[in-house]
Amino acid sequence: MLKRWGILIIAPFLLSSCGLFKKDGIYNITFDSSVPDEQKELLTQDLEVIESLNFSGVSSDDLDKIDLPELSSTSLGNFLKERIRYIVGESYDADTKRTIVSSSYNYNPAVFASFSSPFDRIVTVMTNTGSSVYLAGKKSNVLYSLDVADENILINTTRVGIIKIGEGLFSSTKLKSSSSSSLARRLLRLSTLFHEARHSDGNGTNAGFPHTKCTYGDFAGYYACESNTNGPYNLEAMLLRHFYRACSNCNETELSAIQLAASDAASRLVYGAVKRNSQPEFVR
């Protein structure tokens, strides 16, 4: 009898260590072992900040660019939840984690009718790495899968939800008078995360909302511009505009940093930019 009780008590711990009772993080985002603990901790706390944000004075034009029905902590949380499923570290090498599922796959993508995934198998969020592998596969008619966080994920949509983060995410937002755990720096990192999340949207020639080549201006000649009013840069600019207002107790330098980041993102929009369908595409 005691033996049975013992097994019942120990079993959950064993299963948990095998990953069968794997506990997902906030917004069900799973961190791959390639993410350093320090980065994982900071990013988890960044995501928790979203729940405490309050927004006001959001215009219909802002919402049009953000491409959301409303701007709230809930809608932003859902936005990420649908687009980011895994976060991998800088050392994660997609080339070595990639497996060919079909080497002559006929890509005939369909577009999600709604923002929710129609299949259980499809991970409902995506990131740069996932999007890049999907687009690379689409270009060469190869269907791939990726090993991420002890799982094998079929890369059959731009929404697969694998985002790669690196030290740059934390070092590029350095402010002398502000610690990495300050609200301002968290908001700057989150804006980058939302930018990357937008790369999981779009279909056809606009699948992944790719950046366009700047034909004039500060970044002429580089693929660092935006031709979509609802693309990653403009989404980032709009969010930073509202993050600025939500940055309570932030000092003037921190507020200026948010303003500068918003300005940089907004400066990437090219003349004649239009709003495009953001529904993601998938293959069966």
């Binding site: 740059g168 590029s172 937002t173 350095k174 402010l175 002398k176 008078s177 980058t192 950046h211 201006g217 500060d218 970044f219 580089y222 693929y223 660092a224 600019a237 709009m238 930073l240 505009r241 509202h242 600025y244 207002r245 000092n251 003037e252 330098t253 921190e254 507020l255 200026s256 940093a257 948010i258 303003q259 500068l260 980041a261 918003a262 300005s263 940089d264 993102a265 907004a266 400066s267 929009l269």
Partner: protein, 185 residues
């Protein structure tokens, strides 16, 4: 008499030579390096001909301190202006990742932050700050995102101080960004 003339000529020659040499050793200022306060502010009537000429004689300690603060602030604006990131700085950026906001742009938040703190504590500094923002917004050698933030600050601080800047021309490409940027409360 002859000696006096020779001595005077020698003195004048020496003076001319000295002034020529000192002018030669002065650094040649690029357009961007010129003092933002030295630029004509003919488009902001409130900034025209309003040089503070109050005598230091008979002023109290508080006024002297204010004058010192103003002088220090002007000095800060002049030195900070030449540190604002230029287009050339971006192209020489070491990491070369132009997909993200250049680090030089975020670093200048210290300048904007410092100016804002000073203006909040001493609104009499606003005019000098407006000259700085006006020069920065118009400077084509600076990064566009920096110019837009300068223009945003120019508009917001002028509004707060009720200074008319309606005659200031802000380029259309800068204005398109300005409207996206959050306004100062």
């Amino acid at each position: 008499m002859k000696f006096k003339i020779i001595a005077t000529l020698a003195f004048l020659f020496g003076l001319a030579l000295w002034s020529f040499r000192s002018a030669e050793t002065k650094p040649v200022l690029r357009e961007q390096q010129k003092s933002p306060l030295a630029l004509a502010n003919q488009l902001i009537p409130e900034l025209m001909g309003k040089k503070d000429t109050s005598s230091m004689v008979g002023v109290n300690t508080a006024e002297v301190l204010r004058e010192n603060e103003k002088a220090q602030f002007r000095n800060y604006l002049e030195t900070s202006y030449v540190r604002l990131p230029t287009l050339q700085a971006i192209s020489l950026s070491k990491d070369g990742d132009l997909h993200r906001v250049p680090p030089e742009v975020l670093e200048s938040s210290e300048v904007f932050g410092y100016i804002a703190e000073k203006l909040k504590s001493n609104p009499s500094l606003t005019r000098d700050a407006l000259s700085f923002y006006n020069a920065c917004a118009a400077n084509e050698q600076l990064i566009t995102s920096i110019r837009a933030v300068c223009a945003r600050n120019l508009i917001d601080w002028a509004k707060k101080a009720q200074i008319d800047i309606s005659q200031v021309h802000i380029p259309e490409k800068i204005l398109q960004i300005v409207v996206v940027l959050p306004e100062r409360n």
